[in-house]
């Protein structure tokens, strides 16, 4: 039991931190521009595909460096020549634009790379067990995923809270006019934030590609969960996004690792149902079976009991 808990926690951390890398960019962009970027997960997928192609010629590590840069530049161009022009027509136009962009990127990926799964592998140098616990191996690559996610979180946190650029970004989120009146080029800041947010999605794609497989549906797999995370965490809250990412990562991981059924949970609550009840099918489900819908159940609970999200503020 203990060993299952330890490994479920580690796997939950890997998933949670990966989700946070996506959610952090999304929430940062939302905070500044009020735009929910539907194409964010598609940029994550592009990161994986770029890295796959680069790794064929230059190896994994250069892919890790170059692919996020390419995605970041693409993100900045999307903001500069797409969103900024659409912005004057309001939020609905912006949403439709990013929605269309997601389709465009998904189709482009299939056009250039084909519909099949790519053989994008983790580097050989990380192809060993980092440690063996209770007879189970924890791969070095998963350890690397945790390490790089934590490093990025610390870097992002320090950049936003300790640096002059971070102070300007924080102020521009709430008071763009005042920041512009003090001589700061707010549109350039917005473009840079969009670029960095996209690059973060790119990094997530690069490191997730070898584990979660690189295929044209990978954006759809994580895309909707990332939106669930930013809503649960509180729209625009970076700390909320971190908590929600870890919460969902761990929740799913524990559910998959457990061998409990819905009936066992109901029994814990002192409820018992007979076998011939019309809803029998519902409580013969096991937790691993319902793991994929748990984030959405959590979303519903949060929307009912705390509509602003865990750390979000009610909009004035």
């Amino acid at each position: 039991m203990f060993e299952i808990l330890v490994f479920a926690t580690l796997n939950g951390l890997v998933t949670g931190l990966l989700l946070f890398m996506l959610a952090s960019g999304l929430t940062l962009i939302f905070s500044m521009m009020g735009v929910l970027n539907f194409a964010h997960a598609s940029l994550y997928m592009l990161g994986a595909y770029f890295a796959y192609s680069i790794s064929l010629y230059l190896g994994f590590w250069l892919g890790l460096l170059i692919a996020p840069l390419l995605v970041g530049v693409l993100g900045a161009l999307i903001e500069r020549y797409g969103l900024r022009r659409v912005h004057q027509h309001g939020h609905v136009a912006e949403l439709v634009f990013t929605f269309g962009l997601a389709f465009l990127i998904d189709e482009a990926v299939q056009f250039f790379w084909g519909p099949d799964t790519k053989n994008y592998q983790s580097p050989d140098v990380l192809d060993f067990p980092l440690f063996t616990l209770f007879g189970q191996e924890f791969s070095a690559y998963r350890g690397f995923m945790i390490g790089i996610s934590v490093l990025i979180f610390i870097g992002l946190y320090r950049l936003l809270t300790r640096s002059r650029v971070g102070i300007i970004i924080q102020a521009a989120i709430t008071h763009p006019h005042t920041v512009a009146n003090l001589g700061h080029n707010v549109p350039l800041i917005f473009m840079a934030v969009f670029g960095v947010g996209s690059a973060l999605a790119g990094v997530a794609g690069v490191i997730a590609g070898p584990v979660l497989t690189t295929f044209p549906g990978m954006a759809a797999v994580l895309g909707s969960i990332v939106f669930v995370i930013v809503v649960i965490g509180g729209l625009g809250s970076l700390a909320g996004a971190l908590i929600a990412s870890l919460l969902i990562g761990l929740l799913q991981s524990y559910a998959i690792a457990s061998n409990l059924g819905v009936a066992d949970l109901l029994n814990l609550l002192g409820l018992e149902f007979s076998r011939d009840h019309p809803l029998t099918d519902l409580w013969t489900l096991t937790l691993p079976q319902i793991a994929p819908i748990l984030p959405y159940l959590l979303l519903i609970l949060v929307l009912i009991f705390r509509p602003t999200g865990l750390l979000g503020n009610r909009e004035q």
Binding site: R164, I167, I168, Q170, A171, T174, H175, H177, T178, V179, A180, N181, L182, G183, H184, N185, V186, P187
Partner: protein, 238 residues
């Protein structure tokens, strides 16, 4: 010195609209180097809109020449970087940033090397110095006003436009605002003071303009305005 170089700011026939409402209907005035000028008038006559339009927050029609350059239609950050500072009416301090961070935001470029430094500001206003690491949102109204003005000064402007700096402040704090305005002028910075009340404007201004119905309706020095009861009654007194 020719008149064109002595002019810090020259606004000619400025028009501005909010939707279909014609707010500014041909405003013209000028501020010379190192001068303190007040823009007076009742609420709703277009004083705040005038400074917002100069600053690029509202789309201008007409001519705005600052330090010999046409700035009408330029984005706010470019205007600020040319040396025009603006302290808005609503004291837009950043409530979740500390007092020091608020001041740092006013600095253009990586370091401050102008007429003002953060240490100097803390020397002038010990209350701000004592709360350097406290969030700006917890300061009193007067302290927020000082912070807002000092934050703009950090950018070392050659001219500063200040919208209603004494609004809602206690008489003692109003005095402090007056002292700071004098200090700003002593350092060669031109001031455009936008006020509804006459008290502080009359004491420190060299020239005054009175606005009414989106236009400048009077221009003169404070003494003449004080002597002109009809103008005050028609355009200023409530």
């Amino acid at each position: 010195m020719s008149e064109s170089t002595a002019n810090m700011l020259e606004v000619k026939n400025l028009h501005a609209y909010y939707g279909k409402s014609h707010i500014l209907q041909g405003v013209s005035f000028k501020v010379q180097e190192g001068e303190i000028v007040s823009l007076l008038g009742r609420n709703g006559v277009g004083r705040s809109t005038t400074v917002k339009t100069i600053m690029g927050e509202v789309a201008p029609q007409g001519s705005i020449i600052f330090k010999g350059k046409e700035i009408a239609g330029k984005p706010s950050y470019e205007i600020a970087n040319l040396g025009l500072g603006y302290v808005p009416e609503n004291r837009d301090i950043f409530p979740t940033l500390t007092v020091r961070e608020n001041l740092l935001l006013g600095v253009k470029g990586a370091t401050s090397s102008g007429r003002w430094s953060i240490d100097e500001v803390f020397g002038m206003f010990p209350n701000l110095g004592a709360r350097a690491d406290v969030h700006g949102g917890v300061l009193s109204g007067g302290e927020q006003q000082m912070l807002c003005m000092c934050r703009t000064l950090m950018g070392d402007p050659d001219m500063i436009m200040i919208d209603e700096p004494t609004e809602g402040l206690a008489p003692k704090v109003v005095e402090q605002v007056g002292t700071l305005l004098q200090e700003i002028a002593n350092r060669g910075v031109a001031i455009l003071l936008v006020e509804q009340k006459l008290s502080i404007a009359m004491k420190i201004s060299q020239r005054v303009y009175v606005m009414g119905h989106g236009q400048v309706v009077y221009e003169g020095d404070p003494q003449s305005l004080l002597g002109s009861e009809s103008i005050r009654k028609e355009w200023l007194e409530v």
